[in-house]
Subunit: 287 residues, 2 copies
């Protein structure tokens, strides 16, 4: 039995759409209310998820919901949160989000709901794709994904437990950490790899893209995420810039070491360097 | 009908083993002769590829072969090539290799065979894996892979055509370029992505590997090749160091630009930067 009564999803993009599909698969019969900014997106939801209640009205979407999940780009979250806070809300409403940055998001959203009946707790399911939009949404996206919850000193434990139960129901492995720990962690494990894929793509193809004709799986995998949405990623990188800069500076230091080894032909040092990276990479279990 | 009579493969690792399996699938009945340095490796070949003639003797392996493919790490190729050149060779023998660097390999190997009945032409099938060894060899490895052939002014056209026919038979898309063009191309499309995966792994996990617990597909894909063999890759990066250094310096320049955008919070420039990378990455057709 679910602890939720009715779930509102705001913005049916890749994550919101995948969330909706996963809820339909794993919480059969759950009321699903979906808000989209544009009327065409509402029509797409009606075609794709006919059992859901779809609307361009935030007030209508949020009405009676016990859980609301914000799935728009993080820079738009405070504005939408303020509109939600001005609506009539259920007594037991928990508002959460799926944003990739938590320090700035939690700092902005928690106070917005502090004076309302609702409570805000940040979530970050580590799932996504370089693809965007409802058309690429999948009910498998969250299966076995880590979901990072970021409670604060103001978070009520029973709310946190309900939110945890929700993500576990969707198939996630739930972890708790502070918003600051979250931002340090994802800067290393997600935002750094994203920027490195971008730099690899630019340095590989920037002078002459015809080398693509000789590419293989290494280039394909190493650069896959560079195909992600620039608008969304500009927002993420800027909102987490302190931690991203620190991670990039470590990568930059490692790059200087590597260049030095190549310039001085220090084979021993180079082999140690590659061996250290392999040992770390081998910690990740094979799929 | 094949233009080859008998094919010798020297070193049954991931590439040599995959080559043997592909030949058995696509050139049924072809005589296959496999050399391994260690007796245990010969026994492994006899178990895994019972139809092949396996030996620790180079002279025995090369006897009567019309094509010999060197599949050991590039730093060992000149020594093995000298041993082959000292053997009794068939009149029509073509020696090739599968090494990831061509300038230094062709410069070392072409003269070794210049005084013999055999001819050397460099090959580089763009296929591989972070895994190593015969146990991971696969008859599908070369399917639709680009194979870069690097003839020189001394190459006889009929030899080149025979070699081209061989790789096409194995399922490759064959491209021709000079050894220097090859090294410039693979520095960008293969060696740079490899080093960037190494740097990403070190900067992501070097300070605290526990962040791995929060990782998702982005980290997995971006760093996959960092699990490759350090010994082999140290050889590749050093032998192609001029081109690898040039590619890394471009990546380093792009990293300085990115750091500047983050530090000055230049959202417009950051969005343009990410958009440019996405446009380049989107040139690669989806699988």
């Amino acid at each position: 039995m679910s602890l939720e009564r009715s779930i509102a999803i705001l913005s049916p993009g890749l994550l919101g759409g995948s969330l909706a599909k996963t809820i339909q698969q794993r919480m059969p019969g759950m009321e699903l209310r979906i808000w989209a900014r544009r009327e065409e997106a509402v029509q797409e939801v009606k075609r794709d998820l006919p059992a859901a209640i779809a609307s361009t009205s935030i007030a209508e979407t949020i009405r009676g919901a016990s859980l609301a999940v914000l799935c728009m780009p993080i820079q738009h979250m405070p504005g939408i949160a303020q509109q939600i806070a001005a609506c009539e809300l259920a007594e037991d409403l928990i508002v959460t989000d799926v944003g990739s940055v938590k320090g700035s998001v939690v700092a902005a959203l928690e106070p917005i709901f502090a004076g309302t009946k609702a409570a805000f707790i940040g979530s970050h399911p580590m799932a996504g794709s370089q693809r965007t939009g409802l058309a690429h949404a999948s009910g498998d996206l969250f299966h076995r994904a880590a979901c990072l919850l970021t409670p604060t000193a103001s978070t009520h434990r029973p709310h946190l437990e309900r939110l945890r139960a929700f993500w576990i129901k969707l198939g996630c492995r739930v972890r708790e950490m502070t918003p600051q720990e979250h931002d340090r962690t994802v800067a290393r494990i997600s935002h750094l790899p994203h920027t490195m894929a971008v730099l690899t793509t630019l340095a590989a193809l920037g002078k002459d893209a015809s080398v693509l004709d000789s590419s293989a799986g290494g280039f394909r995998d190493t650069t896959r995420v560079a195909g992600g949405d620039p608008e969304m990623w500009a927002g993420i990188l800027l909102q987490n810039r302190t931690e991203v800069i620190a991670a990039l500076q470590d990568a930059s230091g490692a790059m200087r070491e590597l260049l030095e080894m190549l310039q001085t032909m220090d084979e021993e040092a180079l082999r140690r360097f590659l061996t250290q990276a392999k040992a770390l990479r081998d910690l990740l279990p094979a799929v």
